[in-house]
């Protein structure tokens, strides 16, 4: 589903990604862990072309991200073409990024109605169903600021799902939440995994990774240090750096 070979990315003179190789299979829950500043969030943002990669190859569903290949040549993609690709990839942010001037229902309906030009009635029904699914029945007419962090993040998940994506990216979805609100968001994600969604999750929730994850990759300093099944990596880390990191977070 997602394939990354030697992906590099720098911001100015700062090398953030220094050759990321990994492969995410369809229907998999793929966890990215690592210390802050290791480049895991940057890599996630590269997958839907919010950041442009400098070298290497990154593809989703067999198609290159941000570029079009014709013969041996690569052509940079137009913004409009890139946004067409993003419609199939949902993203959930650490800080929710809900639209504060819209109600919960409008937040969920905005993209399907404006971007995919679906009929309001159809989208409305789907949006209400999604809100049920994330446990927010009856909150449709509330504004984001009237909700708790956990509720806002669940709206953000519903908003991403409304575009019926084939892949969901989660960028530390529980890091900005009070501890007692983390569970409700993880529950929604767990249900999503059971329903077979392909998910790439940047997280510090090792419990979630162990229980729900199918693969786990430990990234440090812009490279993949260690990968494997979450239970194996978390129980028997082979690398010193992985051991050092896990001893701090577990």
């Amino acid at each position: 589903m997602v394939r990354s070979e030697g992906v590099h990315k720098s911001f100015g003179s700062l090398q953030v990604l220094r050759g990321i190789d990994l492969e995410v299979a369809r229907g998999e829950v793929f966890c990215l862990v690592g210390p802050s500043g290791s480049g895991k969030s940057t890599f996630l943002r590269c997958i839907n072309h919010l950041e442009k990669i400098d070298s290497g190859r990154l593809s989703v569903d067999g198609e290159l991200v941000g570029y079009r290949q014709s013969g041996d040549r690569l052509y940079e993609m137009r913004d409009s073409d890139a946004s067409v690709k993003r419609r199939e990839i949902g993203m959930v942010f650490q800080r929710f990024n809900l639209f504060p001037h819209m109600t919960v229902l409008q937040n969920v309906m905005e993209a399907p109605v404006r971007v995919r030009r679906e009929s309001t009635a159809v989208v409305r029904e789907r949006a209400l169903r999604l809100l049920d699914r994330v446990g927010l029945t009856g909150k449709a007419d509330a504004y984001p600021r009237q909700l708790s962090g956990g509720q806002q993040q669940r709206v953000a998940i519903a908003r991403a799902l409304a575009m019926e994506p084939k892949l969901m990216l989660f960028d530390e979805p529980t890091s900005a939440l009070d501890p007692e609100l983390v569970g409700e968001v993880l529950d929604v994600m767990r249900q999503l995994a059971i329903d077979g969604m392909t998910m790439i999750v940047v997280t510090h929730e090792m419990g979630f990774a162990r229980e729900v994850g199918d693969s786990l990759v430990f990234i440090d300093d812009g490279v993949v240090v260690e990968s494997g099944h979450p239970r194996d990596v978390l129980a028997n880390p082979r690398h010193e750096r992985t051991k050092a990191f896990l001893s701090k977070v577990l």
């Binding site: 839907n48 919010l50 913004d79 409009s80 946004s83 067409v84 690709k85 993003r86 419609r87 990839i89 949902g90 993203m91 942010f93 800080r95 990024n97 809900l98 639209f99 504060p100 001037h101 905005e110 993209a111 404006r114 971007v115 600021r145 953000a156 908003r159 991403a160 575009m163």
Partner: protein, 318 residues
């Protein structure tokens, strides 16, 4: 051993402010002097003021002033929003064009611009549409296109657009970057993101200084008198050029300007109060609330917090 907790309200002697009483006395003295002069100095000619305040010519001038203010502000607001979006565009051509425009129109006095537009015919006698160095499709005499009203509209409107562009840019930049990111992650295009997500949120920051701009524009319209457009100041000048009653007629004009700006100030206050909802828990008190609260309490009133920050990049000085 310790005293029982004191639960009754504290009754203390409030801090006295003798300085305030002295200042009040001094100010009242000055007010009395001013009133005395206004009443006794015959040069004020209050009867002439009274005769002219509702004169036909003056009322027509008031109407023209209001009308130019409205139209020039519409040009300014639309032009400003377009310019600010261009300015922030990743397209270097658009952003540089906007920058040069703002540089030019903010860098030259609006009075010069007005006279320039009015005398456009001296520079280009004919305005034509066609292909450069090629055929011409249509052509007009510049003097018939640039009426005083057009000159006023172009001069004030295009100048205002440059100021509004900076205000609107500040508004757009005040919107959290995560909003744009979330919108693009949903596959929204740049222009859709701008229209649906960024601009509605930027409005809260844009509206208060725009109110200032309207008030400022109302007064700036008086400059239009130099291109012989019959607005309030021009019509006032027409009367006193005939009667030599300069001071009373300028008082008439000032009274009208004050009335109009007062109306706008009250309107601005309520609009800001409306858009400030949600950002602070208690809205600032209205004029009446504040007057009632402060009128009869000369000391010991906690200072009211500043009602709202007003961003005015040019500090009201043109």
């Amino acid at each position: 051993m310790s005293e029982p907790a004191r639960t009754e309200p504290i009754k203390a002697i409030p801090v006295r402010h003798p300085g305030r009483w002295v200042a009040t006395a001094v100010i009242l003295l000055f007010v009395a002097m001013a009133v005395n002069m206004a009443v006794t100095n015959p040069n004020f000619a209050w009867d002439v003021v009274r005769e002219n305040v509702f004169a036909q010519t003056i009322l027509e001038g008031v109407w023209a002033t209001v009308w130019i203010t409205i139209v020039a502000m519409i040009v300014g607001i639309f032009g400003g929003v377009v310019l600010s979006v261009m300015r922030l565009s990743p397209n270097p051509v658009l952003s540089n064009v906007a920058m040069v425009y703002i540089w030019f129109f903010r860098g030259t006095p609006v009075l010069v611009q007005l006279i320039f537009w009015f005398n456009l015919a001296a520079l280009v006698p004919q305005i034509s549409i066609g292909i450069p160095f090629g055929p011409t499709f249509a052509s007009w005499d510049t003097n018939s296109v640039i009426t005083p009203f057009m000159a006023a509209l172009l001069g004030l409107g295009l100048n205002e657009a440059a100021y509004m562009a900076e205000i609107s840019r500040a508004g757009i930049q005040s919107v959290d970057e995560g909003q744009v990111e979330a919108a693009s992650a949903l596959g929204m295009s740049r222009s859709l993101t701008m229209r649906r997500i960024v601009l509605p949120q930027a409005m809260r920051v844009i509206i208060p200084p725009t109110g200032n701009e309207v008030i400022s524009m109302l007064k700036t319209t008086s400059l239009v008198s130099v291109v012989a457009l019959p607005e309030l100041l021009y019509n006032t000048q027409q009367i006193y050029a005939r009667t030599y009653e300069t001071i009373p007629l300028l008082i008439v004009a000032s009274m009208w300007y004050l009335l109009l700006t007062s109306i706008l100030t009250v309107g601005q206050f309520y609009i800001e109060r409306h858009y400030g909802r949600g950002s602070s828990s208690t809205p600032p008190p209205t004029y009446w609330q504040r007057l009632r609260r402060n009128m009869f309490k000369f000391h010991d009133t906690p200072p009211t917090p500043p009602s709202m920050t007003i961003l005015d990049p040019n500090n009201g000085v043109r």
